[in-house]
Symmetry: D2
Subunit: 350 residues, 4 copies
């Protein structure tokens, strides 16, 4: 590639930001030209992340749309919910292509957004053009997209587990239950008491039961796949580890005669063009550690013939396939590059 | 108490054994008179657990029924499955009272045992007299019992969460799904590669999906409570922490009008005579760490009015309420002592 | 004990506070009558620590000296450095006995305090009467004391390891190096980014090298023991675990002929009246987990005959023997109660 | 590179083996042609490490020197101590170049080996030709070497911290104390009780104090650097995390006038041709997590002007720079490739 694409990362100080920096530093077709942040503006980035010495010389800059658009063709927004809706229109207007990692551009129906996120929206036109950045489902639409609403971490793991079942009509949709477990980095680089090692290590609990904001996002895509409105039960849990999500998904099969190997075959077919989804062989269930440090999603499948249910387990790195890695995967598609370009494939184990 | 009861612990070297030793050293009505084990026979117990220096002077002895019966009125069997069925009859015959922590005496129908544990049984008569050692359900039968089959760790957490719902007929039984998460000590003090810190730390996965041996044990008691055969979906997961179980239980409510506070009231009433079960107030969900180092079970309850499901979360210390603590609670009932005698109530937090 | 002593805990919301609450709830001679705190004043204590439901009904109150003195004979101050110096004089004047867990009353020479803590002091007279609350060294002075400056967590572990060597003149004092490792709860219940599980788990590093404030505290007591000014090298490290400190102490022996068993004998003699110090047998080194949840200090001793050095390892629970447990031990001595009263002796292992 | 070099990995099932597999799969100049192991011979490698599905199709083969030499130009030996001494001569004879990750070829004086490892040696001639595989010290000799004795993990971290001080004569050699802390993967993929998560998590302790076998290895190189026999104090500790080593090194400066920035300059100069050593700026100390998943060594330096000591902290990934990564770095030098070829540079953080 003769000329690299210039990219900006806004919200560079957080965990989404540092993942993007880490990935894009090793991406062969990209140059990082702008690191933006409010709280840390004016500080050399290596003050925040000293291990990057020798690799990053940029200073964090305030979020200035003009300056960003001058320096960068592509902008990643890794900001708290509610900020992208102001920035993205201005950046698009100036010719930037935008990948938003927040919830702002994940919803086709902004009423759902307003209901769950308590914010009114004025940008229905722009939101309608945003593509939901789950390449395994919306690969075609991502090619050439200018605005991508990158999925949440839980929806990514949940939807990759559920999609073949819903798309093929194999399950009774309203029986779907997603019991999800996440490492604590999902809470971001914010100092919250419940995320302290002293509190969270050696312990485990659910949170936001029956009302987590990733629920409507999952339901929107499930409904799209099923061709009918789908409600799911979604429960997130905090696990004493830094990274990784495991979603354990339960659903009742329509056809009780389906066995495990049938489903493995169906999943393999569904994801045959998806290099980042790894369907595990019969009897093997995923460990989150296999996915950590990679953009892969490992899926294991079991059928309980006694109860007539399928149990699908999907494991991802919540900060890579669940966030920054997926955003880069979307960028690859937007630019017409190979989907795997510059993304890590193999975990270090153990 | 003028005279203490003499107790033996067989399988003293394992995690069940060390928990029993720890608890019974501080129990005011008990003297430990015999520590038995095969692999470590002949070694001072403090060689295995040096932190007990000054507190334990016993040497581990081989498992010799005559010697045990001479020295001990009560015998705890903390051995691999399949050994108690030979030892318990011989000990009962010699006048000992027996608490078995293995699966051998948990099943009223030994065909179920044989089906899931692959062992033929000849002791149906004795097994029929064994009491299932979950005091919150079988308190009356434990008073005066001579043989107790102490529950598994997962069944304890699962059944304490499910019992009020099944007993009161509040849920559709076949919709019950138990997604359980356990610290790795549940695997015992055996050196298995997948339980190494290097493998298990920072990772998470399900195992024995749709075929874990605790399933029929849960179903037996659920069926007893519901008055009809009940099948449940049970999935265990290994969590990167030493101790603790969280069971997240899902079920569809028969009456969609029930709200969270109704259920909290029902649970409080159901457990009003159960000092070890703590029903959490509205909106509070249990952390396993609250239960660690105690015999308590913390239960949090949520209703999802969108989906019509109840979600119950129960947290225990898998080695105490899930194993050795519960056995001591059973002993207290067998001897007519207060149910809380000698058992720890308060976790150290954090 | 016919009548229990009323105690107040100021700074009840922090980790020192919750440890004191936990310990004193189970202490047979004490009643908690006042929980004070600024940030959480007005909130039921169980809102902060829900696992204490059924056990604590107190509401956190603002720090009001008159109200405290009316309700409590003994006051524990578990506050940030610099606050006790104002509160303690007022409480003493009103007849309370005070145990301060901060650094304010640990120094006999307030110039040292001012130098390391950057605060001027006006209370030299009161500070001069304070007793350093390390019972193993100052047991006699604690009996009847009205003001106790409880030691820091690192000094406790370090001094219990070093004292016999210095007191008996066995080492060259200026060769003493203390490499200390602590769980992250030592940083308190404050939300700091570097103490997040996502940052601290799976990692390890030193901090405040050559300038940690516990250095002068260790040196003050070492000098007292050696009868000459002693400087030590002290390096703290953060370890990815909630609780526990291990101090690995190195020093050159004056007499190269001393062997490990000689030193073990000397340590056993030095601590023969100290029920909380456990000298390990030859070849056994302490694990912090043995001490967690207890007030014990485990000490292992090694001599390297090649290099002429002694290596002493001491393990404590930083929040118990290193903080709240030791304060209760001091209270026991102040009140003439048995030194072990109401304090936990046995860890749960694993 | 037109033609890739064929390599064999013996001991492929262990942690050293899987690291080599992981690194060499992504190395642009290498083809893995043989995976050898005894215990797992005959099994597809992905049975041992399922996350490698799609990437490794090799079956583990028995260790057969003829077959290996036919298929591979370079052989990595990642076997227990004492096996390489038989295999390496046979492989060299057949024209293979050998990198041994065990202790067998680390010692120039085999008497030292025999003394610490309790094995007689017959291969003094071959051992004398082996190069100690620490590229930062022996870069020149590695170019063209046929037999490399790759360093232990602790010696790597310790020597990178100590070398500039010893080489320049800045410290009193016999004052050097190395307090080292390692994640538990250093114990290998063997199921040992003390390495179980249930035992090791939440705990910390020293082991092999004053007699760890890495001591003579460190001393051999220190003596070489200092030009005189050097004895060091070395103490290893197990830390509750999978990967990473931090060595905290203490030594007395000869010149008490040296300050921190002087030493930083000296270290930067010493390592100016060493791309894998990162000297941290003033006041920054390394976190092991910065090095995890990379071949880098981060070094922080502090001077205590009160005591006249220098404190150097070095952080590495024990399985990469401490083992397999360093072996690949050696291979790069042996083959005349760039020293950084195919090796990971940037950690995922957090």
């Amino acid at each position: 590639m003769d000329q690299k694409i210039s990219v900006a990362i806004l919200g560079a100080s957080g965990y989404g930001g540092i993942q993007l920096v880490r990935l894009l530093l090793e991406h062969p077709a990209v140059d990082i030209t702008y690191l933006g942040g409010e709280g840390s503006a004016g500080r050399p980035y290596t003050e925040l992340y000293p291990h990057l010495q020798d690799r990053v010389s940029l200073v964090v800059e305030p979020v200035d749309v003009e300056a960003i658009a001058q320096k960068s063709k592509v902008v990643f927004l890794s900001l708290p919910n509610g900020l992208a809706m102001d920035l993205a229109p201005a950046l698009l207007e100036r010719g930037c292509r935008v990948l938003d990692l927040s919830a702002d551009y994940r919803f086709t129906n902004l009423k759902t957004y307003t209901l769950w996120y308590n914010k009114e929206r004025q940008d229905q036109d722009i939101a309608a053009k945003a593509v939901y950045g789950l390449p395994e489902l919306y690969r075609d639409r991502l090619q050439g997209a200018d605005l991508v609403g990158c999925p949440g971490c839980y929806p990514t793991a949940s939807l990759l587990a559920l999609s073949p079942l819903l798309k093929q009509g194999l399950i009774v949709p309203e029986t779907a239950i997603i019991d999800a477990k996440s490492g604590t980095s999902g809470g971001g680089r914010q100092a919250k008491v419940n995320l302290l090692l002293a509190e969270a290590d050696g312990s485990l609990g659910a949170y936001n039961v029956a009302r987590h904001r990733h629920t409507p996002e999952i339901e929107q895509i499930c409904s799209d796949l099923a061709g009918q409105p789908v409600q799911v039960q979604f429960t997130p849990h905090l696990i004493p580890m830094p990274r990784g999500i495991l979603a354990t998904v339960y659903a009742t099969l329509r056809d009780p005669g389906l066995v495990r190997d049938d489903l493995i075959t169906i999943y393999q077919a569904f994801y045959r063009h998806s290099p980042w989804v790894k369907i595990l062989p019969s009897g093997i269930y995923p460990q989150t550690k296999w996915a950590c440090g990679t953009n892969s999603c490992y899926i294991g499948i079991e059928v309980d013939e006694r109860t007539g249910r399928v149990i699908v387990m999907s494991a991802i790195d919540n900060l890579l396939k669940g966030q920054a890695g997926q955003a880069v995967q979307c960028l690859n598609l937007m630019m017409g590059w190979p989907e795997t370009l510059g993304l890590p494939q193999l975990a270090f184990y153990p």
